[in-house]
């Protein structure tokens, strides 16, 4: 693989770090300037990231080494197709979320907005660092930046529940971080290197049973951020955070960083061949399938709209991991592409939940009767997003589900096809009551007069994301060629051609 040295990965990561400092210095008093930094950084970051796409699509990787951290380990970033796909998604959706947060935070007159925007920018700094990192230690550094910067966002409301949510978040994520650190240290002890290598580098480094233990500690560690059951508890609790946080971080950047790291471990540390030989892929697939079905059922019983969305997120994250664990080409492509598809669809859903909350202060599904008549665009967006998650063609969710289905057949594991089909039914079962209530049910007590669409800052990003998830469903290579990136990543992982 040809390596192109370039400073662009560092630039893309640093932009939001610098923006965070500027936001902090600007402060509460000059809030228009403060929001300007966020928007400027989001747009700049997106353009730096997409400027790397042509190089990566031509099969090359971009690399930047800052310095040596420790013998054999550098603070280094290497942009490959998988990392760029995640980075493009996160930075594109940061633009949408930035506009949305301005509408949301100002609409609710939230307190301590400087801290909010500061931590948000810092979280994106971490997310891109994870996406581009070329070795496990660099990943861990940015992974922890992401963890810590998200804590103030989870506890943002400062109510006892929010603080309890923040504590739970830290307890889960820091405990898992110690497992990750142990796994990384042990990997280094076994191999003397931590550099990601397509196809893995752990083969023949230790006995099979030791490698199994190492794989399990890795998955328990990174799987916590990916909300794999039974380490998922923090995510529904973290829904107490302001909606932009739930939307970008708890549907895209943070949890997908967890999934992304799981994929890195599967494909770039252990490698498909080793996992297949040790039967660990199948084990993980069963593990993920359990999460898929259990979270789908739990989503059914959530009355709080954001919590229902959270369980749906857990569900989709597990599907991505299932795709990776099946280790067959189509399943991998489908799983990787679902990172993108789910990002666009779920963020639209969260934007809608936030818009409803800002306009009506309602959070529960049971209170949404008739709301679709007062807020048709918002709820229309919700309907599109929900259908996308359920995998109804021609929305983007369908493409992933189709490839995942093919992948389970390629892997000769037909049982996972049934898991996916059952899951699609569950998706419909927990989403359609919401659509039904909001459009076809008449409110018991008439809705407070004057409820209308939320501000353009909130409606436009939501509708745009829904439209994009429709568009990507028809032409998955539109705009930034996400699907091609997923295909190239699959090829690199499996070393096809």
């Amino acid at each position: 693989m040809e390596v192109v040295p370039s400073i662009r990965p560092l630039l893309a990561i640093l932009i939001s770090g610098i923006a965070a400092i500027l936001i902090l210095l600007t402060g509460e008093d000059r809030k228009n300037l403060r929001e300007f930094w966020t928007l400027l950084a989001a747009i700049l970051k997106f353009f730096v990231v997409i400027s790397m796409i042509p190089t990566v699509l031509s099969g090359k990787v971009m690399e930047y080494t800052l310095l040596t951290l420790s013998p054999g380990i550098a603070l280094q970033w290497r942009v490959d197709a998988l990392g760029l796909l995640f980075a493009t998604l996160a930075s594109a959706l940061w633009i949408a979320t930035s506009f949305y947060s301005i509408g949301y935070m100002r609409g609710l007159q939230e307190h301590k907005q400087t801290r909010f925007y500061f931590c948000f920018a810092l979280a994106l700094h971490g997310a891109l660092g994870v996406a581009f990192a070329s070795n496990l230690l660099t990943v861990f550094i940015f992974y922890e930046i992401l963890t810590i910067s998200t804590f103030p966002l989870v506890a943002h409301k400062e109510t006892p529940e929010a603080i309890a949510g923040g504590r739970k978040y830290l307890a889960y994520l820091l405990t898992s971080a110690t497992l990750i650190l142990f796994s990384i240290g042990f990997t280094y002890y076994l191999t003397g290197t931590l550099d990601f290598k397509a196809g893995g580098f752990l083969e023949n480094s230790a006995s099979n049973s030791l490698l199994c233990v190492l794989f399990i500690t890795f998955i328990l560690g990174f799987g916590t951020k990916a909300a794999l059951m039974p380490m998922h508890e923090w995510l529904p609790t973290a829904m107490g955070a302001p909606t932009p946080v739930s939307a970008l971080l708890h549907a895209v950047a943070v949890v997908k960083a967890g999934v992304f790291c799981v994929l890195r471990v599967i494909f770039y540390v252990f490698g498909p061949k080793l996992l297949f030989d040790l039967n660990l892929g199948l084990l993980l697939a069963y593990f993920a399938s359990f999460t898929i079905l259990a979270s789908g059922m739990l989503a059914l019983v959530q009355d709080n709209l954001k919590k229902r969305l959270a369980f749906s997120t857990i569900n989709n994250l597990a599907i991505i991991i299932l795709g990776a664990a099946l280790l067959s080409p189509s399943a991998i492509t489908g799983g990787i592409f679902l990172i993108v598809g789910h990002g666009f669809m779920k963020i639209a859903l969260f934007f809608v939940a936030g818009a409803i909350y800002v306009q009506t202060h309602k959070e529960n599904v049971s209170e949404l009767d008739g709301i679709g008549r007062a807020m048709p665009v918002t709820m229309g967006t919700f309907a599109i997003g929900a259908m996308g998650i359920a995998g109804i063609p021609p929305l983007v969710g369908f493409i992933s589900k189709w490839y995942l289905g093919l992948g389970s057949l390629e892997a000769h594991e037909i049982i996972f096809l049934f898991v996916l089909i059952l899951n699609a039914l569950l998706d419909i079962a927990y989403f359609f009551p919401i659509i039904y209530r909001s459009f076809f049910k008449v409110a018991q007590e008439p809705l407070r007069a004057g409820i209308q669409e939320a501000s353009m800052f909130m409606v436009v990003p939501a509708a745009l994301c829904a439209v994009l998830s429709f568009w990507l469903g028809i032409t998955p290579n539109a705009f930034v060629r996400f699907f091609e990136m997923a295909l190239i990543a699959t090829k690199q992982i499996l070393k096809l051609g």
Partner: protein
């Protein structure tokens, strides 16, 4: 033998200035502070120059009064103590700069004597580090200790008693050390460390040598406050004036740790310490319990400064664990942690000193919303706290990384678990404080402190600048640790490990 005069300037300038200060203070009180800063600056510059020479030329020998060793006293600079001397002198300079406002606020009439004792304390600590003579080390140990007792006794109500308590323990420790020196002198007729290291291997079977070694280790353990002989430390550092605790807390224990490395791996051969007597093993078990007990006892504290004192006990445990692991990674971690912990403790104790002297508050529950008054001080507290927890990219993470690798290398899974668990304990400790400060509902603050309580009341520049420099050190030296290790620490690892 070196002809450069930098090595001697490190010691002689602060020593002479400390005698000059009472005379000058008798004439013009206001001259004392600039005089002290000048002396500390020269000392710092000289130690940097010496380190530079050591990096370029290797070990330096400076014969005092041109008397050849082993009869005369020699100062020996290898990579280890040149590095520690830089740490000690830099931290002393920064704390010296910041001491002014605290001295003026707390005991302005005693300022002259304070600056004199401060310099004596620094002289003692630097002397311990630079000397190559076991008895000369004892002399400096006593200079540092006596100055320390006096400085601590300046503090508030409980201080004289705490200082007396410290003196009892400290004297026992110093006596043990002196007994060790005496036994070796009886046996070998030499006090020079290099000479001892050459003469001792033939005598390792002697019970006198074993006895001397035991005296050394127990004496040094008391001086570095290694659990369970740490009992003098919490009281002494809690009641000491802020300017004093921020000097002695980061440095005294670290210098003690340095002496432990010297005794265990220079005077005595690593083969003796590791294999002939199980000293290293015992030390590592004791330090593992020090880490746990320090953390647990810190959890029980509500007085912030006292909590830090127990955190320090745990931190000493880390360094001692690295020494006890007796392998390359462990020692790298220990030496790196000497640097990192000095930075962390200096910034934490400074921040707490500022908080206490500005507000008069001590209990962690009283610090609600204090960051509105002192945003920079609290931000630095948070940075240092994250470093103690071991969150990358702060420097605390990197020393823990090497300690972890060292423990894995020895297959000591219990130590691995202790290291990882202690991060979680520290996370609870510090996030408890962070939560109270940053996430308390703001109305309580308005209620309690009134509107003027919310206005900015930041520490003076003379404290802020050293604190900011320390915080920058914490943020930058972590990622630069690879460079530090490859130029300095890898040569500082005792030979034979």
């Amino acid at each position: 033998m070196t002809t450069s005069s930098y090595p001697i300037l490190i010691i002689i300038v602060p020593l002479m200035t400390s005698f000059l200060i009472p005379l000058v203070g008798w004439w013009r009180k206001s001259f004392c502070y600039p005089l002290m800063i000048a002396a500390l600056s020269i000392s710092t510059f000289s130690s940097f120059a010496t380190l530079n020479e050591v990096i370029e030329q290797g070990t330096l020998h400076y014969y005092l009064g041109n008397w050849d060793p082993p009869w005369g006293i020699e100062y020996v600079f290898d990579h280890l103590n040149a590095f520690v001397a830089v740490i000690v002198s830099v931290i002393s300079l920064l704390i010296g700069i910041s001491s002014k406002s605290m001295v003026e606020r707390e005991f302005s009439q005693k300022a002259t004597y304070f600056y004199c004792l401060f310099l004596l304390q620094v002289t003692g600590l630097l002397g311990i580090v630079v000397t190559g003579d076991a008895f000369n080390l004892y002399v400096f140990l006593e200079i540092a200790s006596l100055a320390g007792y006096a400085l601590i006794a300046i503090g508030e109500d409980g201080a004289p008693f705490a200082s007396f308590n410290y003196m009892l323990y400290g004297t026992v420790g110093a006596c043990f050390y002196l007994l060790g020196v005496g036994y070796l002198y009886i046996l070998t007729g030499s006090l020079n460390m290099a000479d001892l290291a050459r003469l001792l291997p033939g005598l390792y079977h002697s019970k006198v040598v074993l006895m001397a070694f035991a005296f050394f280790i127990v004496g040094v353990a008391i001086k570095m406050a290694l659990f369970p002989v740490h009992v003098w430390l919490p009281d002494a550092y809690t009641y000491a004036p802020s300017a004093v605790s921020s000097l002695v807390a980061p440095l005294t224990t670290k210098v003690g740790a340095y002496v432990a490395i010297r005794i265990m791996y220079t005077i005595f051969a690593p083969s003796f310490t590791k294999d002939l007597v199980p000293a290293a093993t015992i030390l590592s078990w004791v330090s593992a319990s020090a880490i746990l007990f320090g953390c647990i006892l810190a959890l029980a504290q509500t007085d912030l400064k006292r909590m830090l004192a127990y955190v320090l006990v745990a931190e000493v445990g880390y360094i001692a664990l690295g020494i006890g692991l007796a392998n390359k990674n462990g020692l790298t971690g220990a030496i790196l942690h000497i640097q990192n912990d000095a930075l962390m403790m200096a910034s934490l104790f400074l921040a707490v000193g500022v908080l206490a002297s500005k507000t008069g508050l001590r209990s962690i529950y009283q610090f609600k919303n204090i960051h509105k008054k002192m945003p920079i001080t609290m931000a630095i507290f948070v940075v240092a706290a994250l470093s103690v927890i071991g969150i990358p990219p702060t420097c605390g993470f990197f020393s823990k990384w090497y300690l972890l690798l060292g423990a894995i290398d020895e297959h000591q899974w219990l130590f691995v678990a202790v290291l990882l668990a202690s991060s979680l304990f520290n996370a609870i400790l510090f996030f408890r404080v962070i939560e109270i400060v940053y996430f308390s509902p703001s109305e309580e603050c308005e209620h309690g402190a009134g509107p003027e309580g919310k206005s900015l009341d930041e520490a003076p520049l003379s404290v802020l600048i050293p604190m900011i420099l320390l915080a920058l050190g914490i943020l930058l030296l972590g990622v630069l640790s690879g460079k530090i290790i490859s130029t300095i620490i890898q040569f500082a690892i005792p030979k034979g490990l």
